[in-house]
Symmetry: D2
Subunit: 310 residues, 4 copies
Amino acid sequence: MPLSDSDRTEIEAARAETTPTRRATVPTLEAMLFSAIPVLDHGFVRVVDYMGDDAAVVQAARVSYGRGTRKVSEDEGLIRYLMRHRHSTPFEMCEIKLHVKLPIFVARQWIRHRTANVNEYSARYSVMDREFYIPSPANLAAQSASNRQGRGDLLEGDEASEVLAMLRADAERNYNHYERMLNEGGADPSRRGLARELARMNLTLNTYTQWYWKTDLHNLFHFLSLRADPHAQYEIRAYAEAILDIARAWVPASCRAFEDYRMGAATFSATMLAALRRMLAGEPVDQAQSGLSKREWAEMMAALTPPTPG
Amino acid sequence: MPLSDSDRTEIEAARAETTPTRRATVPTLEAMLFSAIPVLDHGFVRVVDYMGDDAAVVQAARVSYGRGTRKVSEDEGLIRYLMRHRHSTPFEMCEIKLHVKLPIFVARQWIRHRTANVNEYSARYSVMDREFYIPSPANLAAQSASNRQGRGDLLEGDEASEVLAMLRADAERNYNHYERMLNEGGADPSRRGLARELARMNLTLNTYTQWYWKTDLHNLFHFLSLRADPHAQYEIRAYAEAILDIARAWVPASCRAFEDYRMGAATFSATMLAALRRMLAGEPVDQAQSGLSKREWAEMMAALTPPTPG
Amino acid sequence: MPLSDSDRTEIEAARAETTPTRRATVPTLEAMLFSAIPVLDHGFVRVVDYMGDDAAVVQAARVSYGRGTRKVSEDEGLIRYLMRHRHSTPFEMCEIKLHVKLPIFVARQWIRHRTANVNEYSARYSVMDREFYIPSPANLAAQSASNRQGRGDLLEGDEASEVLAMLRADAERNYNHYERMLNEGGADPSRRGLARELARMNLTLNTYTQWYWKTDLHNLFHFLSLRADPHAQYEIRAYAEAILDIARAWVPASCRAFEDYRMGAATFSATMLAALRRMLAGEPVDQAQSGLSKREWAEMMAALTPPTPG
Amino acid sequence: MPLSDSDRTEIEAARAETTPTRRATVPTLEAMLFSAIPVLDHGFVRVVDYMGDDAAVVQAARVSYGRGTRKVSEDEGLIRYLMRHRHSTPFEMCEIKLHVKLPIFVARQWIRHRTANVNEYSARYSVMDREFYIPSPANLAAQSASNRQGRGDLLEGDEASEVLAMLRADAERNYNHYERMLNEGGADPSRRGLARELARMNLTLNTYTQWYWKTDLHNLFHFLSLRADPHAQYEIRAYAEAILDIARAWVPASCRAFEDYRMGAATFSATMLAALRRMLAGEPVDQAQSGLSKREWAEMMAALTPPTPG
């Protein structure tokens, strides 16, 4: 359970209040504002604030005095044009701020996206919560045999049970020792308590942390294109998918263009294009003659195969 | 006059509408929203959107679930602490978007602040307005004799008149030729019209351009600390001062901390501190013994002299 | 002629000296070091310094203790893999520093690439050179009728002559007035001379400026993908093409991967991929049934047409 | 012991080779190149590459054709001027690349410096080393009673022994379980082995990781001003101090300016300056009348007290 009762009370208090604004406002996103969308076993994503909407992209592209919008179809056409031709600056004119609770090893991947603003809960200053990510059995994957940084089939039976037991016991024990080292409130008066900034090093990488994370729509799309991708590690993908749903509520036209031109798109290299042209001309082409490596050939064929539903 | 009637109509239409929001809202800034604050002879700054307020700084610093604020005095104390110790990330949690009309030579200084989002009016795509910055006589300064990149006294008499006449005539003539080269709308049917992306090169650097500019509060303060400073060129300082007024309306507590700890502050080097300690101990210290260069000594003395009112 | 005799002497003196280093060194780039590659009528690009080589990309990807390289074919395979899968951080481990002389309107496009370090010649501090870009007749293009931000056919005859004459005369006159306003060295003792920071505003946008520009290889490739592209304005493309030649000399394997997977590649949207699959299955597909707009259909067809040689 | 024999052999091979270069070269830094400077119990910092020297700062500030340097005293004066007036762009023209081995909890602080390039050893792709940071008894500090994010006195006696024993045992046990979950090489043929990207979550935050880290001199100084500061956590400060020594060898004049104007400097707020002026005029001033909070008064007094030697 990610939130305490007092957290919920604070959130509900913030949700209850509305004030009038002259700014661009998105009712579907307002409806979600502040609520926590659960992710993994103890994590969440909450929208805390946002700036702009689809019309703000159009307004900036046109450097206009008012909203800058015209007919809906014309605006969507412009948004699609901007996305297709990688004119990224108008998308930078929208901004979103999220509150996220996530395991530390996920935070370490996420933070590599540098064009964002971050305020993380400080384990130098405060005591971490006793919450750890333990994969569900449906996500307890073996190492892939073919892909050094991928997952294969699921672990089963005794191996699965033992792994889960170790993950649980080690996280718990290390947290118990963390608490004992801290000696918060002087529980044991014979001890001084280790500095928080040192004690935290005993925690495991599946301990949950939390942060405020703020970025613009262009960089959000870049994040999603890498992290909502099937090659991303499942745990960060779970967050990316929650955020993709948020983006759909916030900027539906921009998001449609993103899903068509980026998420669902494929890039073919010069050599791939040459092979494709021969195929379209009816020539038989195989990997050996194509000039492509086996891996590239497989990647191209995958892109040319209809996605399986679901 | 920076705005056409149709621009004004668009602005007023945008101002007239309000919608309810759950987001942090700042009534004093709402009152200014969209209106153009005049700067220089044809320029302006307009607030188009904003995210966050003083409480958002506090909320992010505390990584809290609700607004995160406590007593007003406690919140202001935290903001002052963050500013004094250069904890910049909580200030990055506020964002502002401005529409600015400014001469190109000012835009060229401004754009050096890289941590910002910009959409500029495109002279490849559109025709530039016939508007040029001509300094008022009160700003027509001679080259400083002592400071290679500064201004000295004002030009006067014939020299001033001649300079103003040259600036005006050259900008006008070059714009006339720009229009003739463009031949927009095929005014002269015997000409094809030069490409816009080429014709613009005939314009002078005091031609006005405009852009949408968006940045976070930390980077806004950095911009102001450099551009609202007396060493900044007067023309960009005029914009910075208008923006400082906006910041005061938007985030008054953060702005007070900024003005106390950054704008009005002085930094003393290790060598200056050594001299200062001797002075406070009652020792007579002069430049020669201080270990400081003449220039540094003068800078230290200036910081220790009360600012003259006004 | 972009360089004075004393500039040439300085450059040759710098070229004459070599010292031993343990750092990664690229002989083909060393041979070009410091020499000015002419661009446009008075501009140039000079490599002033560089860090890393193809092996440095491999070394960083492997986080290795030594050079980290293995067999040449394995290293090139890794580089191609990194480029194909947009693993950009290893390419950020190479850095290059250029000295560029370029017209101001080109500098204004260039500076939008924010992830770079720039030191520009200061017109507040120094006097600008009397050098302007005047397009050659072969680049004096009319406005495109079909593309609002593109070029059409060349101007010819009287129109061309008049345009060139206006560009030349206006730049010259404005520069003469700039000099008169400055009154450098007190040529006219009855005048004080206008501040340099003001006088510069009388210059035209085709006046040459110069800067030191430093960026990493990932961002250099991003710059080249946008600016060496046929849609870029000819004048900045001329610089991008000179820099592409430099990149080929510096990091040949990375550059081959870039040209195959980025410059020569095409991205197909989800809708385009669906159409493509039907075409490969032998179905007749036309624009109307494809779900693509006319513009998108034309873009897809262009990507599927063999590039014409030259 | 941070390096294996084969690591040392690779390093020595790289050190043995030199090639001639026309680039700026710094012999004192060349002498250190590639060697590992030990930090903490198993960490290190190694310089892998660098670009530029003190003269490159001067060259960029002058946008010059050759080295751009004049008399040594004039160059150092310019460097000091640039540092004092926060003209940061010339310092961005120097770049350094380091290979660092560091505990994960230190890496998490370090990565907040966003303007840098990073390639970290991947625990999705590879197996982490069995190396953990265990504080020496001289660094096993209690939580500070007065400063929520600081350290107080050292732990002693039984408490110290127990803490060290827990840190050691927990890190070892969790690593043993990590290895058992991985089942690398199929050691136990009845198990499939958990995916590396999952198994890593069982490791503790004092596990060592390593990365290539590259930044420019301006951002390096910013890093040092925050992380070589007495308020920084000891563990990251140990790295910052090693890097400060590297900077002194690399760019001695820039580093002297940095240590005088930034590291050893103090900033006084507007209110502090007003108090200071009264003190210099001989007025008695105490905290109550100064307008400063107790904390600010203490900070000002600390800056006005001579630093104790050592």
